[in-house]
Symmetry: C2
Subunit: 106 residues, 2 copies
């Protein structure tokens, strides 16, 4: 289970990925774990949060738009995105946002 | 289960609420349902998505920052936020972001 990401003071970029899955999840779990680990190695990576209860929401945080774009273009990630579109996701939406303010505990 | 929000063309505002719960969830489910319904009645409301698997992520979408701020200040919602801080959430983070771009299916 992922926790609450320890992001720095805003501004930074959030990529909100919302999805519904198909019933063919063969290979999905391994790929999701691999992508989470690979994302964490990228320049400008700030954190990752995910949850699923029917609807899946995954939010990745990046230092700037350039870092978020670069991650989208990483070859192994591009392959994973293609697999997602073709097999694992019945529908999805990706929203790219600039976080301007945050508050909370801790 | 909530689905993928049918948001309009950006820009608009996303409020990303990430949380971990305590073990005292008395009254939580009813309050969450009530807040989701009440939010949908507010000016500038665009949609809502939520998921939980240990970590909970709820994203509400708003026409602009003023609409998101106004929802935060609605009296019944302010009471719910206080209950959350005092009882239901062991930790949480709220991030306010401007969605600049989006893509996906449908």
């Amino acid at each position: 289970m992922s926790g609450i990401a320890a992001t720095p003071r805003p501004p930074y970029v959030a990529v909100i990925f919302t999805n519904l899955q198909t019933e063919d999840l063969d290979g999905y779990g391994e790929m999701a774990d691999r992508m989470e680990a690979l994302a964490a190695e990228q320049p400008g990576y700030l954190g990752f949060e995910s949850a699923r209860s029917g609807l899946g929401i995954a939010v990745s945080y990046w230092a700037d738009h350039e870092a978020a774009r670069a991650w989208k273009a990483v070859a192994e990630h591009a392959d994973a995105q293609r697999m997602g579109r073709e097999r694992w996701y019945s529908s999805y939406r990706v929203r790219i946002a600039t976080v301007e303010r945050e508050y909370g505990t801790g």
